[in-house]
């Protein structure tokens, strides 16, 4: 495909926004091919240089394959597609591991790649010895075994879980140098299956004064969080399964509270206790942490829903576009307030925008994959995406977010991410020009994941 004609038409005839953003209907046409995007580390093997094996008669067609496996694992050739852990030096169970969003496609996160945030490690829970207690402002305190819960009517919901602190490097004065997933990948999307919390709250019988529930995990931190009763009765549920199998230990086995669209920390793992109360408990993680200090000196508290966000996952930081030509821009969008209505992409640093193709089905509080073809002319530019959700909320530019919230909120960073592509095709994270910092530029935010 030449650089100036596509399917017999000129580039201009296909263009939907400045600097080569092209009509999404190009995806439906024959003969469309995309350029090579590689990571700077990856060695590329072209068709022409495949010499070890003759593709017409490969070696693996002459020996019996490996036997069946009780539990399948990814190809050894994909061993770079892994979570990236960062943890406290003194307490290795206190930290996070990031989902490699930049190495993935589609909208479901495989269980082994779902992000982790633990406060003191992953408890190894015997489900036979685990119980869930529901007590407090209820007519009858009740305790449930996992075997009990497995006999309740279940529901499935595909939804994202995002840590309130995801993308917090965005508050730094300098743009992150990490790959897209390794500073935005504290968000993942699974199909969760379990028992609606409302069914169990009906069984214990809420008293009139019931306004909050305190959810507590059976980990070594005994992590607890307060959740308004409206949300508990609306769409919260007790998940036993993740993507069709029982939840992995690091994601809450044997029981996890799912609070769709709200801060990850509320989706309490290893759930052992729900206390129905008339007020929040004011836990450490809803007072000294997971609150957002504003420039005024006051801090935002109980900022539950994760606001709309989008991220171009390819091309993204530390990737290289090999040659000028046609590329597929792709990424993920999500919102804690419902469905994604639209994702717009700019390839000229925000001057013009075009609507991306949204992968159907677009689900409530779930990852929405977006894509758009783009002809890169080989010149330096900035590409970016912005999400608009069904409430009309528009993902903000970083300038706007920082102006409103300051730089010390730590949590709830959802600004637009800019990817700069230089004339060699190298992709890096940049901030908008007028917000490049002048002084103290080596100092970043000082909060860790304690």
């Amino acid at each position: 495909m030449t650089s100036d004609r596509l399917n017999g038409q000129t580039l201009e005839e296909n263009q939907v926004a400045g600097n080569g953003l092209l009509d999404r209907r190009l995806f439906l046409k024959r003969g469309v091919q995309f350029g090579v995007i590689s990571s700077i580390a990856a060695a590329s093997t072209s068709i022409a240089t495949t010499t070890e094996n003759n593709p017409a008669d490969p070696a693996w067609m002459h020996v019996p394959g490996k036997p069946f496996s009780p539990y399948g694992m990814p190809s050894s050739f994909e061993d770079n597609v892994v979570r990236f852990p960062t943890q406290n030096e003194a307490v290795p169970g206190n930290g996070v591991s990031w989902t490699p969003l930049h190495l993935m496609e589609g909208s479901i996160t495989p269980n082994g790649l779902h992000y982790e945030r633990h406060h003191n490690g992953v408890p190894q829970i015997d489900p036979k010895q685990h119980r869930l207690l529901i007590h407090g402002l209820v007519k009858q305190d009740l305790v449930f075994s996992i075997a009990d819960l497995l006999r309740y009517p279940m529901q499935s919901k595909t939804c994202f879980i995002e840590c309130g602190g995801n993308s917090n490097a965005g508050w730094n004065k300098q743009p992150s140098r990490s790959e897209a997933g390794y500073f935005n990948g504290m968000v993942s999307c699974s199909e969760w299956t379990g028992v609606p919390l409302s069914v169990l709250l009906d069984e214990v019988g809420l008293r009139k004064k019931a306004k909050w529930i305190i959810a507590e995990g059976a980990d070594a931190f005994a992590m607890q969080m307060s959740i308004p009763i409206e949300k508990a009765m609306d769409d919260a549920f007790l998940a036993l399964y993740q993507n069709g199998e029982r939840i992995r230990p690091e994601n809450g086995y044997p029981l996890r509270l799912i609070v769709p669209g709200w801060e990850g920390v509320l989706n309490v793992k290893w759930l052992r206790r729900l206390q129905v109360t008339n007020r929040p408990v004011m836990a450490r993680n809803e007072t000294s942490r997971y609150t957002e200090l504003q420039p005024s000196g006051k801090a935002r508290m109980f900022t539950f829903p994760m606001e709309a966000k989008s991220l171009i996952t390819s091309p993204s930081a530390n990737m290289v576009l090999k040659t000028p030509g046609l590329y597929q821009i792709t990424g993920l969008a999500w919102t804690g307030r419902g469905k994604i209505n639209k994702v717009e992409i700019s390839a000229d640093d925000g001057k013009t925008w075009a609507a991306a193709e949204l992968q159907e089905p677009v689900l409530d509080r779930a990852f929405t994959r977006f894509r758009l073809p783009w002809h890169w002319n080989g010149k330096s530019t900035v590409i970016k995406s912005r999400a608009i959700d069904e409430t009309g909320y528009v993902q903000p530019e970083r300038n706007k977010l920082v102006k409103e919230r300051g730089r010390h909120g730590f949590f709830h960073y959802n600004a637009i991410t800019n990817w700069h592509i230089d004339s060699d095709g190298f992709v890096s994270h940049v901030y908008d020009k007028d917000e490049q910092q002048q002084k103290n530029s080596d100092i970043t935010i000082d909060s860790g994941w304690d």
Partner: protein, 186 residues
């Protein structure tokens, strides 16, 4: 059976699969199969470790600053540093930079809104290498020491279920309840 909704049918077939007589299930008044087991108040007390700002959940016992300092040196200092200034873990005391400064320091004294939270988190989660091992008296003592380090209580003050909820925290009014505001705006 024909008139029952789908959920009901599923429920009953589940109970049948589990060997339970379906005629019993039809008498169930809740939406679920009603498999919860009652617990006595004494049993529940053993589970319940949450402490609220008004003092609900605080146990009997007491501790003072001198006792707390000794425990802190042995069990907390390695991660939280001398005088709570922070090492590999949170800075707990000694904030020099205010919350509106370029580099704000969020400590117990400068940021935490409730003294009871301190008791709650120390008892349930600290020390990280052996969580849940401090006695109630030791927890009161460490709480007292940390409040003293933050110049919130005096060296002779004793912390117990009656005194701790009354400790005035400097930043108690420093929070905006965004959820309540959003709810009122709807």
């Amino acid at each position: 059976m024909i008139k029952m909704n789908n959920n009901r049918k599923i429920l009953i077939s589940l109970l049948i699969a589990a060997g339970i007589n379906s005629s019993n299930a039809e008498e169930t008044t809740t939406a679920g199969p009603g498999l919860g087991h009652p617990l006595s108040p004494e049993e529940i007390a053993a589970w319940n470790i949450s402490v609220f700002p008004d003092g609900e959940g605080l146990p009997a016992g007491a501790g003072n600053v001198v006792q707390g300092e000794k425990i802190y040196q042995q069990k907390c200092l390695a991660c939280h540093g001398e005088n709570g200034l922070g090492a590999s873990a949170d800075q707990l005391a000694g904030a020099q930079m205010s919350l509106t400064s370029e580099y704000p320091e969020k400590t117990i004294g400068s940021y935490w809104p409730y003294a009871t939270t301190l008791f709650d988190v120390v008892r349930r989660a600290m020390p990280m290498t052996a969580p849940g091992t401090l006695t109630d008296n030791e927890t009161y003592a460490v709480t007292a020491y940390l409040l003293y380090l933050n110049n919130i209580i005096n060296k002779n003050d004793v912390m117990n279920a009656s005194t701790l909820p009354k400790v005035p925290m400097p930043n108690e009014a420093g929070f905006i309840n965004v959820y309540e505001i959003d709810k009122q705006n709807k």
